[in-house]
């Protein structure tokens, strides 16, 4: 009988149920979309902001001053201590290794160049890089950490291949496919000379435009520093910086230190890198990191606001729809009371109705919201590769359905209470 009453009420009051259902559907769609975006947005924004480069730099501890300008070290290339390229493997073993999304070691070199068939030597600067290097599960290197670099041609894949900066190419009149001679500068240990192929021309908008970009190993040979790197840029997924993140780990209690260590703050990751690589100093690049945190905070705040507003609106719509639906049925309520039905039994009937509606509409809203999130994601993060992939987050389903239930029950409570407050004898009288 209970299910019969339930079904009949849906069949008969289809329009009212539909209105309330649509309100819940829209509310939960918005909430699902917001929640789905909020949970994936961290990754997405990180990807977006990765455009602005690394968030951690690593350099030898001995370098008290890091005087790098725009990707080229202006200190004499010879006058420094090196990190070992082979030590970079240790990054794979740090606590937050899986959060590392990019690694780019650099080795600046100075040398002399001459055009083919021209004996004159010009001083030139160069940087040895990884270009498309296998590192754990990553393919990483300078292009990945400098996504704003614009390349014409290809990145070097063999020793003997180089990419030249746009200005350098203009000065020497080089095109892709040309060759020129490189000769190690007199100050360098060892001395070599080789002819290299220009496989690409890069435009960066900074000092790199005047430099030669060559495979790290070639640079190491030129400098005579086997396995040496001068500086490493690391890009990592991090938790936005907060007050706790800025604490000096050495001043923390062992317990707090542990907590600090196990949170993916840029500072903690830098700390772990310092631990892992002997003689290394690692620091976060704060500007990018902070803006990332700010954007995240602002966006999630906005999303919560929209979600709350959507649910509130749904609640009011349910309330209005239920008010008329129950008013229409107050004759039934009067009769049920005369049959000895308690207020509780009748309230249960109506709550079961809205509850069923909420579960149904909430589930649909979850599906629609997941779709909306995928669509919005593709819109907001256009050009971000896999942005269009649908995001069905199963844990959201119970959350969203529970929210729908809360909204439906809260929305229908005033009308159910009002209907039950009415005197049954009065209802039966006016029903005449």
């Amino acid at each position: 009988m209970f299910f019969r009453l339930l079904m009949e009420s849906f069949r008969r009051q289809r329009r009212r149920k539909m209105l309330a259902g649509i309100a819940i559907l829209l509310g939960t769609t918005a909430v699902t979309a917001m929640l789905a975006l909020a949970t994936t947005i961290g990754d997405r924004i990180h990807k977006e902001l990765a455009v602005y480069g690394a968030n951690i730099v690593v350099y030898p501890k001995a370098d008290l001053l890091d005087v790098k300008v725009g990707g080229v070290d202006v200190k004499p290339a010879s006058g420094g201590v090196y990190l070992k390229e082979s030590d970079l493997q240790k990054l794979k073993a740090i606590f937050w290794a899986n959060n590392i999304t990019g690694v780019s070691p650099e080795l600046p070199v100075q040398f002399a160049v001459s055009r083919q068939g021209d004996e004159r030597l010009f001083p030139a600067k160069g940087v040895g890089y990884w270009f498309d290097h296998d590192f754990a599960s990553l393919k990483t290197g300078a292009p990945a950490l400098h996504p704003w670099w614009h390349l014409e041609g290809t990145w070097p894949s063999r020793s003997g291949d180089v990419v030249v900066g746009a200005n350098f190419a203009k000065q020497l009149g080089l095109k892709v496919g040309d060759r020129f001679r490189m000769q190690s500068a007199p100050g360098n240990v060892g001395s070599s000379s080789s002819t290299v192929n220009v496989v690409g021309i890069v435009t960066s908008g900074d000092e790199t435009d005047g430099a030669v970009l060559l495979p790290l190993q070639a640079a190491q040979t030129l400098v005579g520093a086997n396995d040496g790197v001068r500086r490493v840029e690391v890009s990592a997924r991090t938790k936005p910086e907060d007050a706790f993140a800025r604490k000096d780990p050495e001043t923390l209690s062992p317990k707090d230190h542990e907590i600090w260590y196990c949170r993916p703050y840029a500072n903690s990751i830098a700390y772990q890198i310092r631990e892992a690589i002997p003689g290394a100093q690692a620091e976060q690049v704060r500007r990018v990191e902070q803006s990332e945190g700010n954007v995240l905070n602002r966006i999630s705040g906005l999303m919560w606001l929209i979600s709350a507003a959507a649910l509130l609106a749904a609640g009011f719509a349910v309330s209005a729809a239920m008010a008329t639906a129950i008013l229409e049925r107050r004759g039934e309520i009067g009769l049920m009371r005369s049959l000895g039905a308690s207020k509780g039994a009748i309230a249960f009937l109506f709550y079961a109705e809205t509850g069923l509606l909420a579960v149904f509409a909430g589930t649909l809203g979850y599906l629609a919201g997941s779709g909306l999130a995928a669509w919005l994601g593709a819109r907001i993060f256009a050009g971000d590769g896999g942005a269009a992939e649908a995001v069905l987050i199963p844990v959201l389903l119970p959350v969203v359905v529970a929210l729908a239930l809360v909204v439906a029950i809260a929305g229908s409570t005033p009308s159910i209470r009002a209907a039950l407050r009415m005197e049954p004898s009065a209802i039966l009288r006016e029903d005449a």
């Binding site: 009988m1 209970f2 019969r4 009453l5 009949e8 069949r11 008969r12 004759g331 039934e332 009067g334 009769l335 049920m336 009371r337 005369s338 049959l339 000895g340 039905a341 308690s342 207020k343 509780g344 039994a345 005197e423 049954p424 004898s425 039966l428 009288r429 029903d431 005449a432």
Partner: protein
């Protein structure tokens, strides 16, 4: 057919124990007043009513429109509570009961028959009867069918109220009122919306119920219907002005 079935009347109402109890006043009013506060001040729908109805009695309540007949019936049916005075149903003071207890009490003790039938339009005849079972305890379709059969609607079981005549609807209403075997039947103008032929059918059903020991309180404007009752209680402007003590049949039963 076993003995219990033989004892049961044609409408399923068993001969109630109350007829043999020493204190037979199944309904007892003492200075009962019911006031409604409306826009135009306080309306005294029932004023200082004192009388009692014994078990198995058939009482007709008469009076002009607005004299408080429905008010009285609703009070007896525990759908409403007195503003003042004491109302005892089955020797229980309704004022002493909580709202929930009153609901339970109503489900157990009272069967309502309305002038407007108050059938649920989207439920079939049998489902309308089962609704009363549902709110009382649990549904039993076979029993509900049997009840409809007894009021002569065996062939109309799955009809919707809109597919039934007024007399048939009223018979569904009677079957519903009886399904939980309540000792008291309250009928507010049960034949008010019926033609002569249907009135006769309903009158016969009520006579049957009376013979089977049901206490019947019936509001009616119809002298012929009122004549079937053992006793008339006349109301005028909320005042009971005529309530002769129990008729011959009650005396007989005592």
């Amino acid at each position: 057919m076993n003995e219990a079935k033989v004892q049961t009347g044609p409408l399923g109402g068993s001969l109630s124990e109350q007829t043999t109890r020493p204190d037979c006043a199944v309904i007892a009013l003492s200075h009962v007043t019911r006031e409604y506060s409306g826009h135009a001040g306080v309306v005294r729908a029932l004023a200082d009513a004192s009388f009692s109805i014994v078990a198995g009695e058939w009482v007709a309540i008469t009076g002009p429109s607005g004299s408080g007949k429905s008010t009285l019936v609703n009070l007896i049916g525990c759908l409403d509570r007195p503003t003042a005075g004491e109302l005892k149903i089955d020797n229980v003071d309704v004022a002493s009961m909580s709202a929930t207890e009153l609901d339970r009490f109503r489900a157990d003790k009272i069967g309502f028959i309305f002038q407007q039938f108050h059938l649920i339009p989207y439920l079939s005849a049998v489902e309308n009867v089962m609704l009363a079972q549902y709110f009382h305890s649990m549904t039993d379709e076979a029993e509900a069918r049997a009840a409809l059969d007894k009021v002569g609607l065996g062939s109309r079981i799955s009809h919707l109220p809109s597919e039934l005549s007024g007399g048939e609807q009223q018979r569904v209403c009677i079957a519903r009122a009886l399904i939980n075997h309540p000792p008291i039947l309250l009928a507010d103008e049960p034949t008010g919306n019926l033609d002569a032929a249907n009135q006769t059918i309903v009158a016969e059903l009520l006579q049957d119920l009376h013979r089977n020991g049901h206490t019947i309180v019936m509001v009616t404007h119809d002298p012929e219907m009122a004549g079937l009752a053992q006793r008339k209680i006349a109301l005028s402007h909320g005042k009971v002005f005529c309530h002769p003590v129990g008729g011959p049949m009650v005396t007989l039963r005592r």
